[in-house]
Amino acid sequence: MFRPVVRLSTSGVRSLTRTRQCYSAPLASRCYSHAKVETDEEFDARWVTYFSKPDIDAWELKKGMNTLIGYDLVPEPKILDSALRACRRLNDLASAIRILEAVKDKSGPHKDIYPYLIQELQPTLIELGISTPEDLGMDIL
């Protein structure tokens, strides 16, 4: 839902499952890959499953979050919900707040994405007792 309309980044290392058409093919033959393109739902499900691992460890959380933020998209609320619950299992409130800051930054100029995410995550935030950066006054200098 939050994917940009025009995906300019190819991010070769990360796009393990997101194969793209070669727009700049100089020859008559196109370099369409024959691999199956993952749908948005599959992508989301994969990441929700990743963070839902019951015995996830701190390294896996870090790796997952850093990879996710590296993608050219803002993660869906359900992925963030899964990640925040993983923070809870790891007793790591600071990382939970950091995740919220990171997705706000990922939204870039689209100022309406972050409030939507917080609105969707509100039940989880209340349940787990995670304060947003705004609540703590950390969104300003």
């Binding site: 007793n91 790591d92 409130l93 800051e101 930054d105 995670i130 304060s131 950066p133 200098l141």
Partner: protein, 185 residues
Amino acid sequence: MVVRVLNLNQMLHLTAGRVGGLFSRRAVVGLTNSGARMSSHHEVSDQVDMSQPMYWDRLDTPLPDRAWIDVLDSKDKSLKQKEKGPWTALSKEEKIALYRLKFNHTYPEMKKPSHEWKTVIGGMFIFFGITGLVVFWQGHYVYPPQPHTFGEEWQAKQIQRMLDMRVNPIEGFSAKWDYKNKQWK
């Protein structure tokens, strides 16, 4: 004066010994520094142990390899214990403290603009100015006198000669001269 001539082998041993001494000193400094580095504040002059996980503030890496503050005093430790319980029990100050233990800068602090550009532009203009002075000095003291063909009188004679020769009479030089009225068109 006695000059001791060393053969190649002996010379190699000498240099190796000196270099080996250098390495062992640096290794010791590195080890002690890695112990000291585990505290919260890092001076740039410290020798960073690159084999240990490092902390960095990066917008695209929200969770770095290491927490900001590793060495916890008793107050921090008890806060960490409280973190294991429900987070609803934590006060705002405690939550902020937990964040500050794990991270150095917040995202807004990372993105804070600096005044570096003023230094850069200022430095640029200073160097332009110095260059200008050098060029001016050069023009005054270094260049030889201009050739005599650059003088007013010579140039006038040159132009007249070009017109007499009908240089580029169709589209160029002489085409712009009105020969009848003896003036430029």
